[in-house]
Symmetry: C2
Subunit: 323 residues, 2 copies
């Protein structure tokens, strides 16, 4: 049957919805504030409302919906294990069932980084490749692996935790409890922390360049573009850690490409250059005899999660031929 | 057809041959010195002689032969790209064709670490698992990945180079040219180098314990077992690096198990204890919610390469049902 698929990306700040048609074209898209602080029932109501609006306005029958969540779920039951930046009442909640009873179309849940990986594979930078690594650099760092043309899930659905690779054995404490994880060294959170600490210890130039004691990664990127030395160093250092982690994965997996996405990736060459240089420096054993590895910035930007949720719904409901 | 498979492990020092029967039983086995220094033709003659002897003495029809090589080959053509510790004339040599014209059974080539991985999967510690990592710790460090029940090859057949993950950015120079590779920090070669350096800078206790200025990993293991502090520290440090590299791969791949093999693994708990502790310390994000990861010593020991070559021949010639 000719039809469309709905993808919803449930973020801590915004909910993004997109309906994708048979040719990958966007038939409908909408963003709403999440208001996670208003609790589970309010968020659920927003989600159900979005499903109804999207199915009503797509102009084609919507065959299934995918929901990308920023956390951990049991893929069999659709029960939430952990939802980062949401109220604790989400833990243990049967989200899939709750959505399904209020919706007329089949629903599927997927982790947001895995969704973004599927989106890169179907409509993004991963399209030409059978084997590639996705990394999403935002407040945290996550990843996804496409191996032999399929998203690799791992033995318990948890593959891709590349943000928790230990890069500096006695480095800063990570949210997970370990020391020196990539995420604790090179995420948006880590970059903002490093900038804050520099300002607190007297870096007047940086304070002036970002205009605040509490700089954001976006503000830092702007300051770096304008030539601020500390801001540039923070991006270089982060990129070097990320490049080394990716280089290690390239040695283990011999992929064709790496796709860099997530909010912080929008800093572009500021971050990509040190990543590229460190991958090249650290994967000597793969060049030139073995063809090296391509590095791409995600072309999907902030839409990757919602697009991937739609792609996930398409795959899971058996409509993959439609791609 | 009821039959057997021959596996040959071409090592720099020894060539090991084994014929495996339909139930995985050993029907014939033999070891010969390689004499790599006598050149390619002499080694080839030994290989062909072994194939003839093995097929003649197995007691069952031998349906195919696998040859595991310590180097890089083009899997399509069977041409050698690089053969570690052999004369340079092997580079570019069409080994598969040369074997095939002198042999009455189909022959298959495979890298030795990949062969060992297949052996662990079919007859070793990997048997119960769908997703596991093999690491072979010998003079160098290599690896193999079994993902979704299949040996994962990577985009150009080069997956599993886990010895070339950068563990210490400014660490010792590796053979590959990079600094601080796992292999440059924790292989048998690296351990012997560290011991030699300790002795050269006045570690009299270690010199006495190993009885030489040029200690081997085996001698070091003995000294460590007898309580020598430096020898124990060398194994602990190596194990810590290996455990951290494996922990990083566990985060990326979420396997069920890790299998540790290779000559140095015979040091047992001396090496396994720090590996186990470091994996546990560094994969917080996987325990206990996600079931952790099992750690096994290879039960196949020095036979893994030859057994794996036989298993490879079985798989490639379509006899896998026989397992």
């Amino acid at each position: 049957m000719q039809g469309a698929y709905l993808g919803i990306d449930l973020g801590g700040t915004e909910i993004k919805a997109v309906v994708v048609g048979p040719g990958g074209d966007t038939l409908f898209s909408k963003r709403e504030s999440t208001h996670a602080e208003q609790g589970r029932d309010a968020v659920l109501e927003t989600l159900v409302g979005l499903i109804r609006e999207a199915t009503g306005r797509a102009g084609l029958p919507v065959l299934a919906a995918g929901l990308a969540i920023p956390g951990v779920l049991d893929p069999e039951t659709g029960i939430i294990e952990l939802l980062t930046n949401f109220t604790p009442e989400w833990g243990g909640f049967g989200l899939l069932e709750a959505l399904q009873v209020q919706s007329d179309i089949p629903c599927f849940l997927v982790n947001d980084v895995r969704a973004a990986t599927v989106a890169e594979q179907m409509w993004g930078a991963g399209k030409p490749y059978r084997d590639f690594i996705c990394i999403a650099i935002g407040t945290g760092i996550g990843g996804g692996l496409v191996l032999n043309g399929e998203v690799y899930a791992g033995s318990r659905g948890a593959a891709g935790e590349i943000g928790h690779q230990t890069m500096v054995p006695d480095g800063p404490r990570c949210n997970c409890g370990n020391l020196g994880c990539l995420e604790a060294l090179a995420s948006g959170y880590a970059m903002a922390r490093d900038a804050r600490e520099a300002i607190a210890t007297g870096d007047v130039d940086l304070a002036q360049a970002v205009g605040t004691d509490e700089p954001t990664p976006e503000g830092l990127a702007l300051a770096a573009d304008q030539g601020n030395v500390t801001a540039r160093a923070i991006f270089s250092r982060a990129g070097e850690h990320i490049g080394r982690a990716l280089g290690n994965l390239v040695c283990a997996l011999n992929p064709e490409a790496v796709v860099v996405g997530g909010g912080i990736a929008m800093a572009g060459e500021l971050l990509l250059r040190p990543i590229r240089e460190e991958i090249e420096r650290r994967t000597v054993v793969f060049t030139p005899r073995r063809g090296g590895v391509a590095l791409h910035l995600s072309p999907l930007g902030g839409r990757a999660g919602a697009l991937g949720a739609a792609a996930w719904a398409m795959k899971r409901s058996g409509g993959e031929r439609a791609k």
